[in-house]
Each structure stands twice: as structure tokens, then as C-alpha cells.
Assembly symmetry: C2
Homo-oligomer: 150 residues x 2
Amino acid sequence: MGKKSELQVFREYLQRHGLRYTQEREQIIKTIFSTHDHFDVDTLYLTMRQKGIRISKASIYRIMPLLIDAELIQDVFFEAGRVYYEHTYGHEPHCHLRCIECGKIEEFVEPRLKDIERDLAERFGYKVLKSNLEVRGFCPECREKFLGRK
Amino acid sequence: MGKKSELQVFREYLQRHGLRYTQEREQIIKTIFSTHDHFDVDTLYLTMRQKGIRISKASIYRIMPLLIDAELIQDVFFEAGRVYYEHTYGHEPHCHLRCIECGKIEEFVEPRLKDIERDLAERFGYKVLKSNLEVRGFCPECREKFLGRK
DNA sequence: GTATCTGCAAACCCTTTGCAATAAG
DNA sequence: CTTATTGCAAAGGGTTTGCAGATAC
């Protein structure tokens, strides 16, 4: 049971939905999965242009929902009116610890969330699909700078 | 040590910052704390107009950051390009369980988050300020409708 | 060939901002 | 009185959309 490539997953998703596997869609997937960073549409657009890939923002905006629906990426957080994404296919579900001062992000896996989800499903009768835990604070450096060492 | 009213807290906050306690600010606080619902700026604006309170959206947009800074309200989630808020003063910190189909929201208190926060602070050296856990899924009704009873 | 997809530019919509009038202290 | 605040309307800025030409299949 070898793991399918993200391209393969996307291709099958498109086929299943009667959609087409275009140059632009292939390039977006490739670009997104070529780094581990969180990104927004604007960043993705600029990155692709820098690589010499011709694409419009409109197309990116139209393709993002497909990638989410195909469970290849996920929106992680919102800031300054922008949506930030990360690619999730092939990664263990994880949470984010963000410094509100410098924006640095640490990822961590928290097994206790599974228990919490299970308890919630039972208590409220929900079918739990996913959970998102975001912790905010000061990273060690900013903490020192702003809270005076302690 | 009686609990201060939200008005009192806001008044003191404003004073402390050299700001003025205006009609509009008083009315916003009163309106927000008169229900337990989550709200966005537009809803708040319409609610106030319905009650016959004269206020502009611009003022609401300008006052929201003050309420957040005074720790009276908090932004809870973003959806369809909008920010949703809830009043938090006087409430125990809680998390949200949302139905992605009908939008219903259940609130729950999760004591295990405190442990998680403590562990994170130690592991990454962060000063943790707050955490936000949002769980998404299908509520009992929507689950039945869409997933066929099971 | 046919229906989907793309790029462009305009439209949208929530939010922010400049400015003159108003009100708090 | 002095300075902060409000309301209005215009500007911003991210996202969506209509349409004609391009492209997957």
C-alpha cells in the first residue's frame, strides 16, 4: 500500500468530479507541495510568478476550494484579513503555536485531542470531522524583549 | 470582591487610556452583553438600529478593538470573510463545536487544555496567552440528514 | 468538436480612513 | 475650551465573477 502522490490524488479527485487536469492545476499542486511553509493566495501567486509559471490570481482563487475538498490542503488561520493555508496530505494532524509578536509558528502533535474529540462526539452526538487548536503567546525571544527576560 | 459590571470595566479601561465614555460606547457594550449570541459587526449594527440606537458602522468598527483590548470580548472565528465575536468578560474560557452544515454552535469547557498549554510553554519556552480550540463536524440532525442516520 | 478552464478587468463586500461637525471632560 | 469621537462617504484590499478566448479530452 504505497502512498499516492499528491498529484495522483488530485488527478483522481478531478476525474471523479468530471473536472480537468490542467497545466495550472498541476503547477499549483507542485508549488504548494514543494515547501513546508504556510501560505496565502498572494504569496502563492508571487512564488509561482517567480518560478516563471504563468497563472492568474483568479485561477488560484478558483482552485483552492478544490484542493481543500480533495483534502490536500487546509485553511489554518486568518490574519489581517487573509486566509492562510498549509498542505496536509501525507502529514499527521497537528496544531499550531503562534507568537503574536513575530508571527513565528511552531507545530506540535497533541494526542490528547483525539480523546477530547471522542468525548465531544459522545456528549453532543456530533460526527466530528476535524479540530483545530491554535495557541497564541510570546516565543522565547519576544518574551524576553517585551516582558523583560522573565 | 463583587464582580465589576462590564460597563464599569469598560469605563475604567477608557479612563486608564485617556479615552472618553461616549453614548455610542455605552450602547454598544449594553447591546453586546444583552444576549449570549455570537455576532459580527453587521448583526450588531442592525440589532442596534432595530432598538432605535443611532450609530454608524464606522464607529462600531472603531470601538471593537477597544473592547478586545479591554478583554470584554474576543474574536471567535472567521467565516465567509467575516469576523465573529462573543463577549467573554465574566465567562469561563470555553471552546466551540460547530456544525459545518447548519452553523449551530455548542460551547464546552475543556480542562485538559490547561495541561496542554502548560506542557507547550515548557516544551517551546513560550509565554502562552490564550488558546482556541474549534471542533467541526455534523450535529445530530445534520448528521442524520446527510450521512443517512448512522 | 464540446464543455470546462483561464485571464482580464470589473464588481463585490467587509473594513478602514479623511474630514468637518459634535460632544466629552 | 480642548481634544477625542462620530458620521458620512470615499478609499482600501482581499475575493469573486462575467465573458471571450484557450484548452483538455
